[in-house]
Amino acid sequence: MAKSENVKSCEPASVDPQYILMVKNLKKYFPIKGGMMGRVVGQVKAVDGVTFNVRRGTTMGLVGESGCGKTTTGRTILRLSGEKTDGQVLFNGKEVYDASPAEMRKLRTRMQIIFQDPFSSLSPRLPVGEIIGEAVKEHKLVSREEYEAYLDKVMDDCGLQPFHKDRYPHEFSGGQRQRICIARALALNPEFVVCDEPVSALDVSIQAQIINLLKKLQEERKLTYLFISHDLSVVEHISDTVGVMYLGSLVEYGEKKDIFRNPLHPYTKALFSAIPIPDPHARMNRIVLEGTIPSPANPPAGCKFHTRCAHCMQRCKTETPKQVEVEKGHFVVCHLYDGK
């Protein structure tokens, strides 16, 4: 489990080889431009101090409401949204943002992303074989003779037929398109894949197929996933560790078992109580959160959740809580648990 000293300090601490990814105090602010000269008048704190580690071969689930910075976290880790503002992203022990362009190119084959919407993330003008194979050719992963066979193998692994190669994305259904997206990411044989809401645009029965496929591929290829989703039941099914985000910060993070059996943070509790359970007699002890998520451009002082929290104390409004390890490997950012 994550060592608590890693969490507290931002210094390049000892690199533990069991972690494929270590994110420390990651921040990503987007400037708000205004006025006549396009001056920077403020910042949207999309990701504001996120710390977690992902063990090799496991799945880390990231949940939260829309606009809480889940997707930005995923993209910032992959260095897809410009420069970070602060913090560290260590991939296999090396800082991603320190890599030179040539190193970065190599690194790109090691870490991949599956995008949210399979309807808009595939080029309508390229046949499927081209979409999946483009990066393979670009990075010269296999020789020209082996290329076709390699492509067939990847497509077969993802449940696509070889004759699909010459078809265009519009000829496929949503589930099939998501398979193409998965094949495109896996064609580079990555170690780490960010899955950004891969099933939220799909029907329930198709969802199950894609989730099973992702799990099967993980076992076969020893993949590590960062699984971003707002669907808690899907996250519970697929993840080993879970992080709960609120307004750009990780409020709770730990093993799936601990988080789901024993949620600590008031926000996590409210979030979990809101999940509809398919059982008409299920008792609903629902904690209904009042109001909506505040603007990330102007987050509340102190604890960011204090405006909607039922357990809000005086010091929540002024003092920013620190990450506390409540039980082994179970971290929470809340004044209720820091023992004062």
């Binding site: 509809p276 359970i277 398919p278 609903m284 629902r286």
Partner: protein, 392 residues
């Protein structure tokens, strides 16, 4: 030989075939449109009687088809169920199974002239009398919509007009459907009252806002306010929470439940989320490829699902607190809506198939007074032999 195969495999049509179909379609739809556009239709043509006065709506053998250039799509093909007064009926199914088309038929909002209700009755209880929505002329329907039936549309992000203020949009509903003898000021007051009722704190301020200034949850509340503007007897909620976060979803579901009790209306809740259905619905209708495969009370459907599709649907959804190694996934895909097979539509995807599935589409079998299922496995022994004489 080659062309024949291509046609069957890919559903490609030759230009000539397509022309023939569209000509035929135009003939059919023109006839229907002509009938619909008659002036001064006598009331006797659409007045009817409820089979059970405790029902708000009765769908009876409803067929809503779309006459497209590629062939006739039978979106809704023989659907019958009741919505009792003061109850919530949940309609579940995958996308494209005809859930929304069923509800649009009730509002008479199908995309005409291609979309037509070709057969069946929808009986709507107006209190002292009942009408058959299918035969009701436009001008009467205009009065029915909003006052008796109204709809909360699927996407709050796109169903509000971005160039008008929230207040104007809600005002318009009241003015059109219930505006007789009301001054502008009265209508404005009613709108603000409605906005307060759906839990918008700053109602005076929101009245003057544009849709883009509101969050998804707030927009959905506005949509609900518009639907409730004239206290309808039946509210159709078409995926009211699909685009929303779980915490906001909980707020909206709570609100719907409270409001339903306050104005004692019925809700027809359309969704693909079984969790939402379990929480809200008294009765559940499971649809597949334009037909009802199973219906019953929420307890019956969730505790004793009978149809293999219902069972599969429940098993394929991960549930918090229930650990499974691998999710069940229903094999195959929904049959092509233009060329429906003449046997059970689910047969090709069913893992509980028996020999008797070969025959015609299965009839509805009663498992209890309220629980009905369309599956050969539940046929009583004496019926299994004579399957050929079944429906269709």
């Amino acid at each position: 030989m080659f062309f024949n195969r291509k046609k069957e495999d890919n559903g490609y049509l030759s230009a000539r075939e397509s022309r023939r179909i569209s000509k035929e379609n135009r003939r059919i739809t023109n006839e229907m449109e002509k009938r619909r556009k008659r002036k001064n239709v006598p009331e006797s043509e659409y007045l009817t009687k409820m089979h059970d006065p405790a029902n708000a709506v009765e769908f009876d053998n409803l067929h809503s088809w779309f006459f497209t250039d590629a062939g006739t799509v039978r979106s809704v093909d023989g659907v019958s169920f009741d919505v009792p007064i003061g109850k919530t009926v949940g309609v579940v199914g995958e996308s494209g199974c005809g859930k929304s088309v069923t509800s649009l038929s009730l509002m008479q909002l199908l995309q005409r002239p291609q979309g037509q209700t070709v057969e069946g009755e929808i009986r709507l209880n107006l209190g002292d009398k009942a009408i058959n929505v299918v035969d009701t002329p436009q001008e009467v329907m205009q009065h029915i919509r909003g006052n008796y039936v109204s709809m909360i549309f699927q996407e709050p992000m796109t169903s509000l007009n971005p160039v008008f203020r929230i207040g104007e949009q809600v005002d318009e509903v009241i003015e059109l459907h219930d505006g007789e003898g009301k001054s502008k000021e009265d209508i404005r007051k009613r709108t603000i009252e409605l906005l307060e009722m759906v839990g918008i704190a700053n109602s005076e301020g929101v009245y003057m806002m544009f849709p883009h200034e509101l969050s998804g949850g707030m927009r959905q509340r506005v949509m609900i306010a518009m639907a409730l503007a004239c206290s309808p007897k039946v509210i159709i909620a078409d995926e009211p929470t699909t685009a929303l976060d779980v915490t906001i979803q909980a707020q909206i579901l709570d609100l719907l439940r409270q409001l339903k009790d306050r104005i004692n209306s019925s809700i027809m809740l359309i969704t693909h989320d079984l969790g939402v259905i379990a929480e809200m619905a008294d009765y559940v209708v499971v649809m597949y490829a334009g037909r009802i495969v199973e219906k019953g009370t929420a307890e019956e459907i969730f505790y004793h699902p009978a149809h293999p599709y219902t069972i599969g649907l429940m098993a394929s959804k991960p549930v918090v607190g229930r650990e499974v190694k691998e999710l069940y996934s229903i094999p195959g895909k929904v049959p092509n809506p233009i060329n429906m097979p003449n046997y059970c539509y689910f047969k090709d995807r069913c893992d509980k198939c028996t020999g008797s599935c070969e025959g015609a589409y299965p009839e509805e079998i009663s498992l209890s007074k309220t629980h009905k299922v369309s599956c050969c496995r539940y046929y009583p022994e004496e019926m299994k032999g004579g399957r050929e004489n079944g429906k269709e």
